[in-house]
């Protein structure tokens, strides 16, 4: 019988295994809640302590992987949440302020005060405002990337972004699959509130600056490879990105094909070259681009659950994928996991798994949401663990 790590790696490589893996993902805020912690306070612990939170959560539910996030920079240590003019901010400890200035991931925030960072108390600070880019020339793009985006592998590690990983690798690295999931470069560019272009400007730039936009995207993904390399060096097995904002239902399939497909091909190939298994969560209606996604060198695709505007039937998707790629399940995180009962969860897990042939991983669609009953999460995992391939 394979252990969780072997099970996941073999399934991701479309090989025969003894059972279907279960990969609860986006532990997010829920991991704190499930452990009786307050994420507003406890999320800001330094990396090593963060690894304890992950470990405790894993031990409580025992899915087949660790679903890790980007990590915590060292300068968050000893920080505190303050209120200023009715808004929450993270106040950086005096001793770490110089380190904060060197960080390009979190530090380019909109606050005028160097000492504090925007802290939307619902988001764990992952959306600090980024500076805006001028796409009018390749030189300006290069200068912008150098000034605001580029961080070398060494800088990423020294900043503390991989500090949550070593303890987990040392304890679980041989037995459990370890994956880091971060927002894609597209998210950093297109986020409506904080992105380098913002959503509307980003979409318009495909028409107004097509050549420069293609170059900017390519360069941003090249830069993001530094992060993949840093996590590979820390010892994880897989690198996951979330692709949002340019899904077929929003930006059109054509825009993806013209601007992104080749970038993805090269990017996922490079991730493989660094010894990591590339996985991509494609948000939105992925069906029209399924074949294109399969051609990008990515090894597995994650989907959100069906939404009002589109239907993502995982059985049909798997059928269309025709054993060319591994497919994650998309159990509804809200109406099933949070609000459903154990019987409904068992039925839906079985329904999604039915007909799968060594190319499927049981998973939720959107992140696990707060107030999800623990017994429902346990039910999902235990039901999944009992299922055999058809």
């Amino acid at each position: 019988m394979e252990n969780s790590k072997e099970l996941m790696i073999m399934t991701l490589n479309l090989q025969k295994t003894s059972r279907i893996p279960v990969a609860l993902h986006w532990w997010g805020v829920y991991k704190y809640e499930a452990l009786g912690l307050d994420y507003r306070k406890d999320a800001w612990k330094e990396g090593e302590k963060l690894s304890d939170v992950y470990t405790e959560f894993y031990e409580k539910f025992k899915p087949d992987w660790f679903h890790l996030h980007i990590g915590t920079p060292k300068y968050f240590k000893d920080s505190e949440i303050i209120n200023k003019n009715g808004k929450s901010y993270l106040k950086i400890s005096d001793k770490f302020r110089s380190l904060k200035k060197e960080d390009k991931y979190f530090s380019s925030n909109s606050s005028d005060d160097e000492e504090i960072m925007d802290f939307p108390d619902y988001l764990l600070g992952s959306r600090c405002s980024k500076p805006k880019i001028d796409l009018s020339s390749v030189k300006k793009i290069d200068d912008f990337i150098k000034k605001y985006i580029h961080m070398s592998v060494q800088e990423i590690i020294e900043m503390g972004y991989t500090d949550h990983i070593p303890k987990i690798v040392s304890r679980y690295g041989d037995d459990v699959f370890l994956a880091v999931h971060i927002p894609s470069a597209i998210c950093e560019i297109f986020d409506p509130t904080t992105g380098y272009l913002g959503f509307e400007q980003g979409l318009m730039s495909f028409f107004d600056y097509p050549k420069e936009m293609r170059y900017f995207l390519k360069r941003c993904y090249e830069e993001q490879l530094e992060w993949a390399k840093a996590y590979a060096k820390a010892g994880v097995h897989s690198f996951i990105i979330s692709e949002s904002y340019i899904s077929p239902d929003l930006a059109s399939p054509e825009i993806y094909r013209r601007f992104m497909k080749d970038v993805h091909k090269e990017y996922f190939k490079e991730i493989k070259n660094h010894g990591l298994i590339p996985i991509c969560m494609f948000w939105g209606d992925s069906v029209p681009l399924l074949n294109d996604y399969i051609e990008t060198n990515v090894m597995a695709i994650m989907f959100e659950e069906s939404k009002k505007g589109f239907n993502l039937d995982i059985q049909k998707i798997r059928e269309s994928a025709d054993n060319r790629i591994c497919i994650f399940g998309n159990l509804d995180s809200i109406y099933l996991l949070r609000e459903g009962n154990e019987e409904e969860i068992k039925n839906e897990v079985a329904r999604q798994a039915k007909g799968s042939r060594y190319n499927f991983i049981i998973a939720n669609g959107s992140p696990v949401t707060p107030d999800t009953p623990e017994q429902n999460v346990k039910c999902l995992i235990s039901t999944g663990r009992e299922l055999k391939w058809h």
Binding site: P120, Y122, L123, R127, P192, T193, F199, E200, L203, M204, F206, F207, P248, D249, L250, A251, S252, I255, K307, K308, G309, I334, R338, T369, P370, D371
Partner: protein, 216 residues
Amino acid sequence: MSIEDIKKELYNNVLSGDFELTAGLAQKAIKEKTNPMEVINSSLIPAIELVGEKFGRKEYFLPDLMRSANAMKKALDILEEEIDKSGIERKSQGKIVIGTVKGDIHEIGKSIVAALLAAKGFDVVDLGIDVSSDMFIDNIIEKKADILAMSALLPITMPYQGLVIEELKKRGIRDKVKVMVGGAPVTQEHAEKVGADGYAGNAVDAVKLAEKLMKE
């Protein structure tokens, strides 16, 4: 170019999202002494309505919608300026205060609805994201809004829509304003539970709902 040709060109340019020419075409229409209201009603509105329908049928995507809205706005700015100068009254479909509720920074869906409502002749007061109950209510009172439209994309922020409705009641203005709710996880059942007057599953339906609520 005859006035009919100008109107046809405007219609086509809005439909195709070619926003470079629409301002010039609107100016030409004014030079021809055409009633700007007629240009709006016969060219711009039918064009943007068709854009909305194509968007609903997934023939058009967001960039198309944005380009068309931009093309329309460039013409509309010029035509409305002329309307203001001439003293003609442009009848608004109604005034709508719209925003994404507190704790939620998701903007896309709300902005699409706001753009379509504006295109259909509503006066839209877009309060943006992370909007508190007080901000919604103060704006409803100050702007004398007919409709409040609230978006929530997160399950954890959906209940805030109900909280705002409760506040409207407390401040004695619930019967003065219609309330519509939307957002990815929002359902008809949720809308009824929180006491909203209507729910729409997508942007096109949201416009239809607003039109319906204005008639009630």
